[in-house]
Amino acid sequence: MIDYWPLLGILLVVAGFALRFNPLLVVAVSAIATGVLGGMDLGKVVALLGKGFNDNRYVTIIYIVLPVIGLLERYGLQQRARALIGRMRGASAGRILIFYLAFRQIFAALGLTSVAGHPQTVRPLVAPMAEAAAEKVHGALSDEERERVKAMAAATDNIGLFFGEDIFLAIASILLIQGSLAGFGIQLTPFQLSVWAVPTAIAAFIIHSARLAWFERSLARSAKTARS
């Protein structure tokens, strides 16, 4: 007999996100509902939530880079990134992002996952560069086009990271696969696992590059209709 009650918390999360309630509120309500339906008393659920929050403080450390990024923006870093692209011949948003995808995948595959990221590189450098290149090629962007270019810059960072890092031997996910299979008596080396990340990494590069090239064309099309 399958116990379906714990799944109610998932439904609450999906409904809460879909109805655009404040996500922190959605998560807290779902956590309490799931815990109580799973048979815990309220105090225990709140304590478990507190422990989970305290044990995961390291995910919030990244914001210590904000004073540096903010200070450099004060002195014109984004403007500088734009000026650099403005003088570069043949630069387009699609090409810049394809180059960044390759850079992100290769560095992640070498275990250098933290040389780039949304606060460190996307906001101060990659997004303004892609925006400037799109403006240079296609003329002034509408708010919607600007939003699409920035979102694509963030998406490219994620895709490059996810489908590069597993090629590196000592990354947490490879160690988790190795450990889980070892629990069933299946012994594998990290190398045997990480070579199988290569085909998907290549496929990710091809698929996302093709989308970026197509994205560049769709910017050209919408710029043309805007002018006519």
Partner: protein
């Protein structure tokens, strides 16, 4: 030994400075709520281990109450105008990129130095926290260089950092909250239920459908948990090992490695992976909080299909 706690002290100091700078911001009508929010986060970094689980739980509920009641606001900021920035950009030239590259460069050189020199053996830095320690070191060096070169007002880094922090707002603590929710889901037996359902709907004797269910289960369960790490042990135990490896004789390396990557396709599609999908939307000041996910889904779907085919053809060749 330098470990995670040193970084908690640094992060706590920065959030405490954000809190103090919030109180003094008369352009923000909601400055007190902002100060309490960042102050609570500073307290969590500094004293979280002393509060006890229930104390931390109450702290979490206070953060949720402030965010849920929409009490957080934004100041006008005291940053430079776009015109001043153009002037600075011309004055400082491309050298402005150098301080921005200090943080990635410290991570790059530091990781290489730590892994390929005797530095690791000295016991100076906890190997588990090397990445974050190097991030902290990079921030400190970059700030020192900026002070020496750009000569900003003393509080400018905090004021400018708070400007970005306010544009992220409550989303800043969402990844940590979701990690806590994951712990509760696990304790309540969500993984067991998902594994049991996947096992119960499994068609027998059709390897392709079993592969599809295994990879699909990885993607969907990752979307629910926001993290492929939580999904992997469940799906490998429910389908991967008993059906694909033992019954159908598949190659365990392919099934393990590519199954995880099928899960990563799910990560691209879910607001539960907030640090990758929701925080960047806030950081880039996008109007639609799901804009990054929308940009990723058309890559994730064909890539998922490729992963299914890789498992089917490479594991059962």
């Amino acid at each position: 030994m330098i470990d995670l706690h040193w970084l908690y002290v640094l992060a706590g100091a920065i959030f405490a400075a954000f809190a103090i700078s919030s109180v003094r911001d008369r352009t923000n009508p909601r400055r007190l709520a902002n100060a309490v929010f960042w102050g609570l986060l500073a307290a969590s970094f500094w004293f979280g281990d002393l509060f006890g689980d229930l104390g931390n739980g109450v702290l979490v509920l206070a953060l949720v109450a402030i965010a849920g009641a929409h009490l957080l606001g934004k100041g006008q900021g005291s940053s430079t105008s776009p015109k001043e920035r153009e002037e600075y950009s011309r004055r400082f030239g491309n050298r402005l990129f150098l301080p921005a590259l200090i943080i990635p460069l410290t991570a790059f050189v530091g990781t290489l130095a730590f892994n390929y020199t005797p530095l690791k053996g000295l016991g100076l830095v906890d190997p588990k926290s090397v990445t974050l320690v190097l991030l902290g070191l990079g921030v400190i060096i970059a700030l020192a260089v900026c002070y020496a070169w750009l000569r900003p007002p003393a509080t400018a880094p905090i004021e400018e950092g708070r400007r970005l922090m306010e544009s992220i707002g409550w989303a800043a603590v969402l990844p940590q909250m979701l990690a806590a929710l994951g712990a509760i889901f696990a304790a309540a037996g969500v993984g067991t239920t998902v594994g049991a359902i996947a096992g119960a709907i499994l068609p027998s004797g059709n390897t392709f459908l079993a592969v599809l269910l295994y990879a699909g289960g990885m993607a969907v369960f990752t979307m629910i948990m926001g993290n492929a790490f939580a999904a992997f042990p469940v799906m490998i135990a429910a389908i991967g090992v008993p059906i694909l490896i033992h019954q159908d004789g598949g190659n365990p390396a392919v099934i393990g490695a590519v199954g995880m990557l099928a899960g990563f396709c799910g990560t691209l599609c879910t607001p539960m992976a907030a640090n990758f999908n929701i925080v960047p939307a806030a950081l880039l000041e996008l109007k639609n909080q799901y804009a990054v996910i929308r940009a990723q889904v058309p890559t994730a779907i064909p890539l998922f299909a490729v992963n299914v085919l890789i498992i089917y053809f490479a594991a059962f060749a």
